[in-house]
Symmetry: C2
Subunit: 298 residues, 2 copies
């Protein structure tokens, strides 16, 4: 389908919306604090019609939505599609949310650890956008890391999402920073302490022991308490970076980092410690590109 449309990446904490033209270019943009985690039953439809559409002067445009809005907490539960997945597969599996006017991109699933399927909702659209952005991304085997509350490491092969693994690194950071013996109100902006944490992560094993050093390095080791959050962040990200490639059973020399630019920079910093060459890509650009690629395939 051609012509402008309303694209939304509607996640757990907020909603990003764009009017996207036929060439995949964002003409207008808005961010709403309507995260799926905060929605009451039936509220998604109302907010979409009375806030999102008018807010972007997009009352009459067809709309394509991705993210947690397709879960049981959002507008409607859209079943995950199995890997391998690409723009065509997802375009064929859109769920109609408003008859003839709005569709939801399904999430993606694949066999995961411990015999349970691993899942993503929203990241698949950014991955599709990343693949569409450069013919080189659609060729051979590529490893893409999407950091976040639940980081996703995805293996892309000839332009298709083949498999992925989740690491709940961001959530662990959040929990440990806010509760328990490692609790800290320090900002996570100290690069030297971050590097110290990455080094302390070692090969990523024995995390429950390594985490305790966040406390002992301050209490008995004389390090300033204000460096604790940065150290903890480096330790958790370092452990993820050290162990995920092995979990995927892939020899890793290059990784594409896709997502929120500041977080991606911290991941790139941790990857540099282990000799991985990381290239950074903006997650928002990829979301727009992915929505456009899936819309074009529909």
């Amino acid at each position: 389908m051609a012509g402008p449309f309303l694209g939304c990446d509607w996640g757990t904490t907020n909603l990003r919306a764009w009017v996207i033209d036929g060439d995949g270019k964002a003409l207008r943009k808005a961010v709403f604090p309507f995260g799926v985690a905060k929605l009451a039953a039936g509220e998604a439809v109302r907010l979409f019609r009375h806030e999102v559409r008018p807010g972007l002067q997009a009352e009459d445009l067809p709309a394509l939505l991705c993210g947690m809005i397709g879960s049981e907490l959002g507008w409607m539960a859209v079943p995950h599609r199995d890997c391998p997945a690409d723009a065509t597969v997802l375009a064929r599996a859109l769920a109609e949310a408003e008859a003839g006017r709005a569709w939801i991109v399904p999430g993606v699933k694949c066999p995961g650890l411990a015999g349970a399927p691993d899942v993503m909702r929203g990241e698949e659209t950014q991955l599709i956008g990343w693949i569409a952005a450069d013919p080189a991304h659609a060729s051979g085997v590529q490893l893409v890391c999407h950091p976040g509350t639940h980081a996703k490491w995805a293996v892309i092969e000839n332009g298709r999402i083949m498999r992925f693994v989740t690491a709940m690194t961001g959530e662990l950071f959040d929990l440990l920073r806010r509760h328990g013996v490692l609790k800290t109100e320090a900002p996570a902006d100290d690069a030297a302490a971050f590097d110290e944490g990455v080094a302390a992560a070692g090969d990523g094993s024995a995390l429950a022991s390594r985490l305790f050093t966040t406390r002992t390095r301050v209490v008995g080791g004389g390090r300033p308490a204000r460096s604790s959050a940065s150290y903890l962040s480096g330790l958790l990200i370092g452990a993820e970076v050290a162990s995920l490639p092995g979990l995927l059973n892939l020899p890793v020399a290059r990784v594409a980092l896709l997502g929120e630019p500041e977080l991606c920079r911290w991941y790139a910093r941790a990857m540099a410690h282990t000799g991985i060459v990381a290239t950074l890509y903006d997650g928002e650009d990829a979301a727009v590109g992915g929505l456009a690629a899936i819309r074009a395939g529909a």
Copy 2:
């Protein structure tokens, strides 16, 4: 010193007190909900004099206290003693809390991970009691695991605590069970789900990824939500058991499990998966024995 005394294991969440005779036998016992975490400044002294001593009819007995009561949150901050440590070393380092009437056993420290000292307060007394309980425990190299909020794995050599490593497994379990996406009100009593978690822990690497399976095995894997806490417990304990021996750089075939009997049984179950032969010892008996051994050396 001989004759009966008042022994206390005064920890973060509660206080266990015994009148112990000259042979190290507990004559009377009481448990008080006066955990160090809940004490206001100066409250320890008052509770000890007006509740603990009268409660055990021990107004006139000399007293020996161990545990977090010797931290800045307790009665007074008693510096940790360096390893190697045994009953004699600790007996010589007692801190006088009430002149001529009450003493506090110092905690123990040793070089830990990431260049910071690792520390314990309270477990050292149980370890001393365990060593004193059997001449075989005081001979050769022994590995003792003390499970808990902050589990301690200690290497005992010829009756001395040589070094140890902490794993904050119990705290992670508590945080993940109460907050975030893995939150569950299920009881942790399902042995089959615990075993499933131990198996999912693998070699203990990539914990942030393996943890996520606690959710995916229910959401996409069809397992009952009521088994989540047991699975999570097995996963965390399994990861600890799989990775701690390597961290201590010890070939491990036998481990003494010392602590709260029910928790020790779960640890033994996880150890059986990896071929470790575990022997269980009651932590409370060991605390009484340790207080008596340290008292005898003073």
